[in-house]
């Protein structure tokens, strides 16, 4: 009750005018700020980006370093020197979790960027061209939608191993996740374009002499972006999780720090050496949770039907 009162009290004529001048994004941000869960998600995501980008300076050990073995400190529980403990093989788990943030964000965000790019182009063409081409692209999206991602990547990894005699790099996982993961975005883009292209303001700009390019880039694309942003945010969470699974199963990049790789190192000893598994597991949990909360928050904030 008290809170409401103070809010009303601040609605002076001046900031009413300010509100009037507020654009779509300002309105969305105001709504977003009120959503505690979404805000928490944003902070978690920003936190992981921060430690990801600063891990090379923050982490006491370089990536994939078994140095603690030579220091005689392998297999130790969390301590001041090794906050998340060390693995039996000599990894400093704290350093690995920090380095892993960079690797997993790289895959999660990068794969999503590729998926969004492909999904936007295919979805847009499928939405715009009625007839053969549009139908063909819709069918292509449906085919990709039915392909189970994980087995395909595991299979590709084996084939790659045989052909090149070397495991996957993170970039390859990123590319595969992107190339096979765009169908959801394409469906949304196609549906949104079908919805928007018939709206009166599109017809009106056409009737008042706007060019096709102006209509598409100024009026259609900006109006379909919000569901794409929301879906992309949720897709990042999914891609991070898939990368962790791939690395955990041993099909990932053995030379780059990722959370899945560290979990794999520790999980056989989980009864005695829980820290090697738990900390990267928690990192995965929080990162995925963060992106999901952020996605939900964005979805609420950007949904015009919920706007006050």
């Amino acid at each position: 009750m008290k809170k409401d009162k103070s809010k009303n009290a601040t609605a002076t004529p001046e900031n009413v005018d300010e509100r009037r001048a507020a654009g779509q994004w300002a309105v969305a941000w105001r709504r977003f700020k009120r959503n505690k869960a979404g805000l928490a998600g944003l902070f978690i995501v920003l936190f992981f980006f921060f430690i990801g980008f600063t891990s090379r300076w923050l982490a006491p050990y370089p990536p994939r370093s078994y140095q603690t073995l030579y220091e005689g400190e392998a297999g130790q529980p969390p301590s001041l020197k090794h906050p998340f403990g060390t693995s039996k093989s000599g990894l400093d788990v704290y350093s690995e979790v920090l380095h892993g943030s960079l690797g997993d964000l790289y895959v999660g965000v990068g794969a999503t960027a590729i998926a969004v790019l492909i999904g936007l182009v295919i979805g847009a063409i499928a939405g715009y061209s009625r007839g053969g081409l549009g139908d063909a692209l819709l069918m292509l999206s449906q085919i990709f939608y039915t392909i189970p991602l994980l087995p395909i990547i595991l299979l590709a990894s084996r084939v790659f191993l045989i052909l090149v005699a070397q495991g996957f790099g993170l970039t390859l996982i990123l590319l595969l996740l992107g190339i096979f993961g765009w169908s959801g975005i394409a469906f949304i883009v196609r549906g949104e374009i079908l919805r928007v292209r018939e709206l009166d303001y599109i017809q009106a700009s056409r009737a008042l002499g706007a060019s096709q390019a102006r209509i598409i880039f100024r009026h259609v694309v900006p109006n379909i972006l919000t569901p794409v942003i929301v879906t992309a945010t949720l897709l990042i969470a999914g891609n991070i999780l898939t990368e962790v699974v791939i690395s955990f199963l041993g099909f990932g990049d053995a030379n780059t720090s990722t959370w899945g790789l560290t979990i794999q190192e520790g999980y056989t000893y989980i009864r005695t050496e829980w820290w090697t598994t738990i900390f990267p597991g928690l990192a995965t949990l929080f990162a995925v949770l963060g992106f999901n909360l952020l996605g939900d928050g964005l979805s609420d904030a950007l949904n015009p039907r919920l706007r006050d």
């Binding site: 507020a22 779509q24 009166d200 009106a204 002499g209 706007a210």
Partner: protein
């Protein structure tokens, strides 16, 4: 009167999977300079498609199949897309029926008006365009125009949005305005204001008007001449008072009877049935399955559009013998 727009034998078909929908099937349509013409018919009678055809913005899978569209003596169907873009907005303009979606939600009112202004006046600065946008808002009677010019559509009422849509249509000084059901989604009181505004603008800006509507009340209020469309064909054309007084086509009579009257205590008459399937329209006169006066000949032969009186055309085999009730 000088003819501004002259549409002859226009056929606009939609090539759908279910078959060819003959949305406009051989329609003649004229608008004189400074004239206000009503284009009347039920939903699906082809009135909006006729409008879109003049602008050559018929949505896929629609296509203008044949006919001529002459505007100020120039054949619009001969124009390139680039030339057409210069005509749209500058010479002919259109407003659409749904005020909730007629403005782009992402841009301020000023931005959207300025966009149209700058499209047709290259070299005008953004500030000048905004200034002009404010004047346009004033012209359509928006209060506090300098404040509203910075408003987003979601901050405005339906009536305001419709008036702004009209301002946008008139931004580049067209001489012919197609108003597609401008008041359908508005409150009655707001409807009256918007109609009053259109009337005033017609006088002050010297604009010819095509009022697309299914509301006979609006036709009586706003137009000098009416063209009644049924299932993509012309049923009747007449001066407004003549059409109301002495309709010559049973469909027009039915439309007039379907208007609720407060001064007569009788049940509202509705037109039985629905607008026909335009893929396989009825043979003969397209209105015959719903016509209370229909005889055998009506389903056999399509009636020609005949001159029944001075300036009065009707497409009915029995216009001579029927005496239909007006309003």
């Amino acid at each position: 009167m000088e003819t501004l727009l002259d549409v002859r034998g226009l056929k606009t078909y939609f090539f759908t999977e279910a078959g060819v929908v003959k949305a406009v099937d051989g329609v003649d349509f004229q608008v004189g300079r400074d004239e206000a013409v009503g284009l009347v018919g039920e939903s699906g009678s082809g009135k909006t498609v006729l409008g879109l055809s003049v602008f050559r913005i018929v949505p896929q899978p629609g296509k203008i199949v044949s006919g001529t569209i002459t505007y100020e003596g120039e054949d619009l169907l001969e124009k390139s897309e680039e030339e057409m873009r210069k005509i749209r907005g500058r010479k002919i303009a259109m407003t659409f029926q749904d005020p909730t979606t007629s403005l782009d939600p992402l841009y301020t009112v000023g931005d959207q008006l300025a966009e149209v202004i700058r499209e047709h006046q290259k070299g005008i600065s953004k500030n000048e365009a905004m200034e002009k946008a404010t004047q346009l808002l004033e012209m359509v009677r928006i209060s506090e125009p300098s404040l509203r010019v910075r408003a987003y559509p979601h901050e405005l009422s339906g009536g305001m949005k419709q008036r702004i849509a009209i301002a946008r249509a008139l931004a580049s000084g067209p001489s012919l305005l197609f108003a597609d059901e401008p008041t359908t989604n508005l409150d009655v009181t707001v409807q009256a204001q918007v109609l009053e505004l259109i009337k005033e603008l017609r006088e002050s800006q010297k604009i010819s008007l095509v009022m697309i509507t299914h509301d006979m009340g609006i036709v009586a209020e706003m137009t000098q001449r009416v063209q009644v469309l049924y299932a993509g064909m012309v049923a009747e054309v007449a001066e407004t008072h003549s059409l109301f007084k002495k309709p010559q086509h049973p469909y027009t009579e039915a439309l007039l009877q379907a208007v609720p009257r407060i001064d007569q205590r009788k049940d509202l008459r509705v037109i039985p049935g629905n607008i026909p399937d335009l893929v396989n329209p009825p043979t003969g006169c397209r209105f015959n399955p719903r016509c209370p006066y229909a005889k055998d000949v009506c389903s056999e032969k399509a009636p020609p559009l005949e001159l029944t009186d001075e300036g009065h055309l009707a497409a009915c085999h029995f216009w001579r013998s029927l005496s239909l009730t007006g309003a």
